[in-house]
Symmetry: D3
Subunit: 167 residues, 6 copies
Amino acid sequence: MTDSKSFTHVDAQGAAHMVDISGKVPGQRQAIAVATVQTRSDVIQLIEENGLKKGDVLAVARVAGIMAAKRTSDLIPLCHPLALTRVSVSFQLDRENGQIEITASCAVQGQTGVEMEALTAASVAALTIHDMCKAVDPSLQINGIQLQEKTGGKRGHWQREQNHADS
Amino acid sequence: MTDSKSFTHVDAQGAAHMVDISGKVPGQRQAIAVATVQTRSDVIQLIEENGLKKGDVLAVARVAGIMAAKRTSDLIPLCHPLALTRVSVSFQLDRENGQIEITASCAVQGQTGVEMEALTAASVAALTIHDMCKAVDPSLQINGIQLQEKTGGKRGHWQREQNHADS
Amino acid sequence: MTDSKSFTHVDAQGAAHMVDISGKVPGQRQAIAVATVQTRSDVIQLIEENGLKKGDVLAVARVAGIMAAKRTSDLIPLCHPLALTRVSVSFQLDRENGQIEITASCAVQGQTGVEMEALTAASVAALTIHDMCKAVDPSLQINGIQLQEKTGGKRGHWQREQNHADS
Amino acid sequence: MTDSKSFTHVDAQGAAHMVDISGKVPGQRQAIAVATVQTRSDVIQLIEENGLKKGDVLAVARVAGIMAAKRTSDLIPLCHPLALTRVSVSFQLDRENGQIEITASCAVQGQTGVEMEALTAASVAALTIHDMCKAVDPSLQINGIQLQEKTGGKRGHWQREQNHADS
Amino acid sequence: MTDSKSFTHVDAQGAAHMVDISGKVPGQRQAIAVATVQTRSDVIQLIEENGLKKGDVLAVARVAGIMAAKRTSDLIPLCHPLALTRVSVSFQLDRENGQIEITASCAVQGQTGVEMEALTAASVAALTIHDMCKAVDPSLQINGIQLQEKTGGKRGHWQREQNHADS
Amino acid sequence: MTDSKSFTHVDAQGAAHMVDISGKVPGQRQAIAVATVQTRSDVIQLIEENGLKKGDVLAVARVAGIMAAKRTSDLIPLCHPLALTRVSVSFQLDRENGQIEITASCAVQGQTGVEMEALTAASVAALTIHDMCKAVDPSLQINGIQLQEKTGGKRGHWQREQNHADS
């Protein structure tokens, strides 16, 4: 899993810059990222019960995640602006463990990958859940924000090793 | 630590809205949030060595976190716009464990708290580190995004219980 | 209902500027605006049926309207930035007439009113419905974007005359 | 005029997402949208007289509409980001009926249409006129925000039926 | 004119942060900034002639400057968000010398000054003129972006020394 | 160096619009812009000394300039949105003359040039330095914001004439 030991965002003098992707071949690129919201069983139940009625907590978080994906290059200083062709955000509720697993998936036809877009979507969806639940669980935690899989680009397909994800 | 069992962002019909804070007394409010970047020892070393020269990875992440705090209400749908009076983001590097602990602190003179602003600052700083390190460690993880402490408001001082933080 | 015959956004030389509100007394101000989406009965039925399951069209439009209210001064050149203390957006479906009536309500403690914030929220919620329904009804129309009521400020309470609203 | 009865923004489970346009063929796409500002004759006269001097009300509204078109995907949650190649906004004043007809036209070389961009430009131009005239006519109304014509894409040319537009 | 020799944006460890203004007394603060566009006589004539008809170059630049002032804290990393109460941008054309002098003025009731807001308004107005004139004068220069005067705050009134401005 | 005498941003009726670039051939385009910050020797020394430690003033200004380049079409009303493929900002300190020369360089594969992106990056980097130094030198000036060189597009290579730059 080790990669080349240099920071592509830092030039020869050590100064930050937005790296040159002019020479890269445009292609179809996709990325999937996840995040886990750790709260309590009763909070998951509250979300589910409201969900049975109008599903609002997850609906708001989904919209927030999708909109954040589109603003990634506005938030992360050295990210390239990208015309995303697809964004989706989904949720898996685990009442027993008081968890919500968030999965964000992005695609683009472009010269660079969409890892940061998927990670940003998952993170902002998680922060939105935090915001809407913080009155009932101020101790809520967000964990495991990580890239799960990506396709396209020079390096081709990359998938997270399971044991690393579990550590 | 249990709080009232209702979602303040959801009205009587279960629809999302930005809750009314008109009646709240303005006051000095502060919040501290943290996040942990989990990478490898050699990546921390790379950051430190660049840091000894120009410190750019952390400098860029710090700026990104501060700017994101100011855009919180633009990202999190039901957050109120706030005129922050202070934002700071700091980093603690742990080379042995391959970790960076991020601490974000915000303050406002206003009618609602700055928890989401501190959490957003810590999250975006972490995502920026992820962006700048992903070429060398695509498996990098962000964990433990959580509120650490807050002061001000009707409920007064709140501090994270240590055992909960460790779980 | 006639008011003073001068444009407050235009100075003595006829040039646009953001008018000086420094001298105004801060106070509680509220505004309610409406908009009507005109589509077909079968489209309303589609929205309702989805709504019975997840309510997504209206949930997305509601979030869009709330977020747009917070960005009003970023969109309308001469609007003052305001720290809104409340925003809500609600919908009334009329299947028979193929209509959705949108009502947006905003409040602030400040030196100027929130009419534009409420109007922007209603407009962007309507545009979002348009976006989500345009594949099934490209002829969809948005009508009657207007202020319904406002309170606070030097002029006090203002309410739309009913016959005018009907014209 | 009836189209397929399904919401392209809603996936199989009824959850909102930004639909996949990866497989669409890029092409030249254009759209024209309109909106009508309904005010009073004397307000139109005021705008015209200022217009004879500096034309500011319409000039400000035109800039606001053009800038809003570029921010459409930032406002409408499920819109794709697009690199617009042309935006124009024009006005037709009708003093007798106290009306301003706004026409917005957009073009892109891309995989999806620019209907929402044209509709957003017309809407924000109308809201800007509302803002600048609300001191003299708080009852001002915005009507008839609708797509007039579009070209490009799989379905080719679409034009509004006149009788529908008049209804 | 010399001030204390320390950077208020840099903390004890030399790291950037948004300085704490919580303890400052809110008050009325104003600032005036200027910028000079240096082009050719014939370009000024073109602007004036268009100006006699519709005044668009200056009207667009004025709107751009006003809108930019409101986004200052979004552009300048360590600036505090401020609810501006007034912004104006004016132009003085000097055909003989091929110059446009831009003056921007801002006000706020707040805990920190509006120097950066006025400077940003003047700069973006100048950049907008550059954009609109670059086809006829790609060599156009922007000079003398500087603070002219400010009032309010602990240090009270400050005015630029004329000889310094001339240097 | 004289060019065609017409404003491409102004249509036949003199109204502003975002010009049609649909017919332009996409190609590799680059631009370099500069700006000069004029302050005092002792301020440059302060920046350098902090720079020897953490380099923060320049690091913050660099990030601000890069982020601003990506937001150019959001700030300059008639600029087209562009997916920049490269942005860099560098600084040359001249302690003797109390100056900082800023150079910004941008590239895109597109239908229009990146002059405004490079000029915006240089300007916002300069404004950020102004912000961070204004407590020690409120008289600081920004001069010589200008295009230095551009390549690509119908007109091909353009380079600033040296004597003009010196005037």
